[in-house]
């Protein structure tokens, strides 16, 4: 019994204040759904001496769209609940794409969106999609509350800007105007060598003027190509002000591929990685534009 995980002290606070007081101690990990943390503990990658479970903290299973249209996802809201709401809302296509492609189904019933974000794993999908949608984690700590864009949230692989006595209570996804559309896609393959590209993911969001078809806002985010998801500002600059269409999307895809920083010194691996980015960005820009024109940001 108990032969797999090493023993730890377990805490189940019932309020956020109590939880914040507990998470500050050294060698502490926060447990929500557990699909990332327990796996890491099984593999011996995480060996915390203290685990603080959020399961009994009241208010963290919050999941709702506010009167202003923001989607707020509490730290205990499971992927399956969020997926249902996002699918019904027809607003956040990139998020819906990423949730639909997240496997296995069992993880949807225990895993949480906030946990997925906080794990800060460079190849996870939800950070890429939520970054493109401008989502902001709501961080609470002993010194109060702050909202931080995902761009500033990730410091490096496995590391976030969370201070020791802070936790993410929820993540807020801003509403999508009717002429906005977004999409997410990924390429996944077996890594046969350590240097292989096993995954690339990307998300895009476009706001297109319904009258003249010009692009007002553009966000392109690339994941799994570095220690954290990153935006491709050169590619975005090509899109802003241009008339949405395949030519400009292809040019932006090339610019995004050019912005990829090499992760290895193997030329063909880097060529493959850039090729994947180019293909993905072209696809998601077309899909995002199609959704923006349909006045429906959803994947349906």
């Amino acid at each position: 019994m108990g032969r797999v995980l090493q023993p730890f002290a377990y805490f189940e606070p019932s309020s956020l204040t109590e939880a914040i007081a507990l998470v500050g101690a050294p060698d502490t990990r926060i447990l929500a759904g557990g699909s990332d943390l327990i796996l890491r503990m099984r593999r011996g990658e995480a060996r915390p001496s203290r685990v603080v479970s959020l399961a009994k903290v009241t208010g963290l299973d919050w999941l709702a769209v506010s009167s202003a249209g923001d989607l707020e996802i509490g730290a205990l809201a499971t992927l399956s609940r969020v997926r249902q709401l996002v699918a019904a809302s027809h607003q956040w296509g990139a998020f819906q794409d990423a949730l639909d492609q997240l496997t296995p189904p069992q993880v949807h019933n225990t895993g949480t969106v906030v946990g997925n974000i906080c794990a800060a794993v460079p190849y996870y999908d939800l950070p890429t999609a939520l970054f493109a949608l401008g989502a902001k984690p709501r961080i609470v700590g002993a010194e109060g509350e702050r909202l931080l864009p995902l761009a500033d949230f990730y410091v490096a692989a496995g590391t976030t800007a969370l201070r020791r006595d802070e936790l993410v209570a929820s993540i807020i996804v801003p509403p999508s105007p009717v002429n906005a559309g977004s999409a997410f896609a990924k390429i996944l393959k077996a890594a046969r060598r350590a240097s292989d590209v096993h995954k690339v993911n990307a998300a895009a969001r476009l706001v297109i003027d319904a009258e003249n078809g010009s692009i007002g806002e553009a966000a392109i985010v690339i994941g799994s190509c570095g220690l954290r998801p990153w935006r491709a500002p050169d590619a975005e600059a090509l899109l802003i002000g241009a008339i949405a269409g395949e030519g400009v999307f292809e040019a932006a895809a090339v610019a995004a591929a050019d912005a990829v920083q090499p992760l290895t010194d193997v030329p063909w691996v880097e060529a493959a990685r850039r090729g994947f980015v180019r293909a993905l960005v072209g696809d998601i820009l077309n899909l995002a534009a199609q959704r923006a024109r349909q006045h429906d940001g959803s994947a349906a």
Binding site: G2, P7, P104, Q106
Partner: protein, 166 residues
């Protein structure tokens, strides 16, 4: 670390166990309760052999702390039956279609499919495949499993219609 008595509702029965916080649900189910129908496969949430239902939803018992499942309703393969003692229509359909070979994945598959049929009484083959995507079978190639699930769904619909008509 601290031992404690936790109460589980497992297959409809309330059962107590002395556990520690680091015990995983799969170990408690198999080693303390002796319900060895739940299998450990990959131990990383990819193969689905350890699938059990918590409050009716499939989860990986290998990635769930037992303490987190306390007080919730757990169903293992031993709890799957039709009324009193007979086989569940899904189990009968698996036998009729020869949908098990080595059988190691079968308990997890049956529980995932039970949750599917509870949520959707008339699934398409695509729905079945999607719900099966967290359960890996290395023997069958899935064709017979999908056939069996669709057949079980049809049998359950027929039975419900008859029940409604009666």
């Amino acid at each position: 670390m601290t031992k404690q008595i936790a109460t589980f509702t497992i297959n409809g029965r309330s059962r107590d166990a002395i556990i520690e916080p680091h015990f995983l649900l799969i170990d408690v189910v198999r080693d303390i309760f002796g319900l060895t129908g739940t299998k450990l496969g990959c131990g990383s949430g990819e193969c689905g052999a350890c699938t059990v239902l918590i409050d009716g939803e499939p989860v990986n018992a290998c990635l769930t702390l037992a303490i987190a499942a306390g007080g919730r309703s757990i169903t293992t393969i031993e709890g799957l039956h039709d009324g009193q003692a007979g086989l569940h229509p899904l189990q009968q359909a698996f036998i009729d279609h020869g949908a098990a070979q080595c059988g190691y994945c079968t308990p997890g598959v049956l529980l995932s499919m039970t949750a599917l049929l509870a949520a959707n009484g008339n699934p398409s083959a695509a729905d079945v495949k999607s719900a099966l995507s967290g359960n890996i079978c290395r023997c069958t190639g899935y064709v017979k499993i999908i056939d069996a699930v669709l057949d079980a769904a049809a049998r359950l619909r027929l039975r419900n219609e008859r029940g409604a008509a009666a």
